[in-house]
Subunit: 372 residues, 2 copies
C-alpha cells in the first residue's frame, strides 16, 4: 500500500462534489459510458495549456490520460523493456518505478546526474555483457521521491545528451513538479529536449504527470506528454490493458482543474512549505553530528543519511517499538539494495507539533544508538 501521503485536509472536496453534481446533472450519459482509450478530450486540451505553462508546446495528440502516473510506468515498461534489458536510473529512485518495471525483468544501471566517469559506451558495454541493451532512462527531476532533491539545469541538459547518445527514451517523472516552495524552477526536461530538437515530435523525453499530489490521488488521474509516435503506442497498449481510464473521473478532474488548479497548488505549497520549514528546523535542533539530510525546495520528503555503520531498517524497528515514529528505510529505493544507512522522512502529513516531537525523539534514539 502506498503511504497516505498528501494531506486529505487539502483535497478540494467541495469543488469535487460540485463537479460530480454538475456532470451528473448535465452529462450523465457520457460520464457513465465507455469512452476512448486516449482520454477525455477537454482534459487533454486543458493539459495542452498546462504543458505550455511549463514551456512545452504540444497538441492533444501528444497527450494520453492514465489511471494515475503509476500506470504510465507500467505501460512504458511494457512498451520498451524485454527481459535482461537495462534501465538507467538514479540511486536512489522511486520505489514504485522499480516495482512497475520489475514486471518486465530488466536490470538497472546507475544514472549519475552530476556526470562522473561513466560514458555512454560503458553503459552499453555493461548492458550487452548482461545479455540485453540499454532501453530506457528514468528519473524524477523535481523534488524526487525519496530524496526531495532537484536536478539542476545543466545536469538536465547533460542527461538529455546522454539519452541521445544512447538513443533511448528518458522518462521524466514529474509527480511533484507543481509543489515548489522556493527557489527557481528549472525547465522541464521535455521543454529542454524540445529546445534541442525544434519540436516535440522529435524528442525522446517522456513527461509523466499526475493530479495525485495537487488535486487528489483517489480519482487516479495522471497523464503522459511525449512525441506522437510514443503516445500512439501507449493508446494501443491502454486499449488492450483496460480500455480507458474511468470517464467520470477524467471529467471531474477537468472540471476542478479548469477552475481551481492554480489556487489549489498554491494552497498545497503554503501548507507543505510550513511543514518543510518545521522539519528542517527540528532536524537542526535535534540531530547529532554525523547525520546529514537534504534541504528540499519542494515536494514531500527529506532524505537522511545516518552514520555509515547504522542500518535504517534496524533503526525503524527500534523507532516503531520505542518512540512510535515511522519512516521508510532507504535501501528499498536502491535498485541494488544498497543505501542501508539512509532513511526517507515525510513532512506532508504531521502538524508542526508532531514534527517537533517526532524529530526530537528520533534524534535521541539515534544519539543512543551512536553511544552503544
Amino acid at each position: 500500500m502506498p503511504a497516505r501521503i498528501p494531506d486529505p485536509a487539502l483535497f478540494p472536496k467541495d469543488a469535487i462534489q460540485e463537479a460530480y453534481n454538475a456532470i451528473l446533472s448535465e452529462n450523465a450519459g457520457a460520464a457513465l459510458q465507455y469512452s476512448v482509450s486516449e482520454g477525455y478530450k477537454p482534459l487533454r486540451q486543458w493539459l495542452v495549456g498546462h504543458m505550455a505553462s511549463l514551456g512545452v508546446e504540444c497538441t492533444i495528440d501528444n497527450i494520453i490520460i492514465t489511471t494515475g502516473s503509476q500506470q504510465a510506468l507500467d505501460y512504458l515498461g511494457k512498451l520498451f523493456i524485454s527481459p535482461g534489458d537495462t534501465i538507467l536510473t538514479t540511486w536512489p529512485t522511486y520505489l514504485g518505478a522499480l516495482q512497475a518495471f520489475n514486471a518486465y525483468e530488466p536490470r538497472y544501471d546507475r544514472l549519475t546526474p552530476e556526470g562522473g566517469n561513466t560514458t555512454p559506451a560503458a553503459y552499453m558495454q555493461s548492458a550487452e555483457k548482461a545479455g540485453g541493451q540499454v532501453k530506457l532512462a528514468y528519473l524524477t527531476a523535481d523534488f524526487s521521491n525519496p530524496t526531495g532533491e532537484t536536478i539542476g539545469r545543466s545536469e538536465r541538459a547533460k542527461l538529455i545528451e546522454l539519452a541521445h547518445e544512447l538513443d533511448i527514451p528518458l522518462i521524466e517523472d514529474a509527480a511533484y513538479r507543481s509543489l515548489r516552495f522556493n527557489g527557481e524552477n528549472a525547465p522541464s526536461m521535455l521543454a529542454l529536449d524540445i529546445e534541442r530538437e525544434g519540436e516535440i515530435d522529435k524528442t525522446r523525453v517522456i513527461y509523466s504527470g499526475s493530479f495525485s499530489k495537487t488535486l487528489t490521488p483517489g480519482l487516479r488521474v495522471g497523464w503522459v506528454c511525449a512525441a506522437k509516435p510514443i503516445i500512439s503506442k501507449l493508446v494501443l497498449i491502454k486499449q488492450a490493458a483496460d480500455l480507458h481510464s474511468p470517464t467520470i473521473n477524467q471529467m471531474v478532474i477537468h472540471h476542478v482543474a479548469k477552475r481551481h488548479f492554480d489556487q489549489q497548488v498554491s494552497k498545497a505549497c503554503d501548507s507543505y512549505r510550513l511543514r518543510r520549514d518545521h522539519m528542517l528546523q527540528a532536524l537542526q535542533n535535534y540531530m547529532p553530528e554525523g547525520v546529514t539530510w537534504t534541504k528540499p525546495e519542494g515536494g514531500m520528503f527529506v532524505w537522511m543519511t545516518l552514520p555509515e555503520h547504522m542500518d535504517g531498517a534496524d533503526l525503524l524497528a527500534k523507532s516503531i517499538k520505542e518512540i512510535q515514529v515511522a519512516f521508510v528505510p532507504g535501501s528499498a529505493f536502491f535498485a541494488d539494495g544498497s543505501g542501508k544507512n539512509t532513511i526517507r522522512l515525510n513532512y506532508s502529513l504531521p502538524n508542526a507539533e508532531a514534527i517537533d516531537t517526532g524529530m526530537a525523539r528520533l534524534g535521541t534514539l539515534i544519539k543512543n544508538q551512536l553511544a552503544v
Copy 2:
C-alpha cells in the same frame, strides 16, 4: 474504442449521484485518498454475498477489485503467459481478451466445449511443438461476446476436467452473466470447480466479473474471484501496475450495488429481452435462406453466419455505404482470423423500430448479394 454498448438510459444515474453526494459528505477524506491494492473492503464484502448467490462460497481474500474486467485479463496474461506459450480459447472469442493477451505474445489453440477429437495430450504436443506450454484457458460461459451463446452444464464440467488434466488455470469471463432473460441458469464454472475440489482455495477456475453491463461501464469497476494464491499474486501485480483502482469509484459502486443491484439487473433484463425478441423476430421476417443466427437467452449479441462465400467485412463496407447499418465482421473474434462469413449483431442500443428497419434493409442487402 469499445462499442458504446450498454444503453445509457439504463444507467442508475440518480442512485449514482446520490452515492457521490453521500460519500463526499460523510467520508471525503477516505474517498479521495490513496487506498489498498486489493480494493475497498466493503465492496469486496458485498461481492462475497454476490458470489454466494452464484453458489460460490468464498471470503474477501478470494476477491480483488480491478479497473474493469479488461484489466483483469491484462494482469492474468502478465501472471501466466510467457512468449510462445499457448492459450486455449473458443473460436470465436472476446476480441478484447485476444488484445489483452497478445501483449504477452502467446499462441492460441482452439477450445471445443462440445468435446470432439482433441485430447489433453494433443493440446500439449501442439504447444510444445510451438516452443511453449499450455498455460491458460479462457472463455465466456454465459451469453458470450460475440455469439450470445451459453455453454451447457455438462460441457462446463468437461472443460474443467480438461483444465485439471492440463494442470492450467481456466478464466471464466462472466461479464454478461447477470443478463439472463429466460431459460435456466447453468452453475458458474467456479461453483462447479468448488464442488469438485471441496473448497475455493483448491480450484483453478478464475472468475472475472464486471459492473459494466449491470450498473455502469464509465466507473470501470470489475473483480476477480479465485483461489487465494492467485488473488495474492494479482494484488502484487496491481500494486506495481497502478497502485489501486480509484477509491471513490469503488465506494460509489458499493453504495449503489448494495441498494439497487437486483432491481437494476431486472430493469436491464426487461429492456434487453424485448429488444432481443424484436431482433429475432426481424431476422426471421427478413433474412434469406442460407443465413443462420444464434438465439441467445441473455446478453447483448446475436451471431450470424452468412453463406460460406460471403465476406462479413465486405458486407459491412456495403452496409455502411448503402443502408447505414453497422455491425462487426466476425473474423476479428477468431484467433486465427478465420470466420470470414460471420458477423456480430448487437441489439442492446437500438429501439424496436430501428431494429426492424435495420434488419429489413440488411436482409435485402444480403439477398441482393446472393443474387450477384
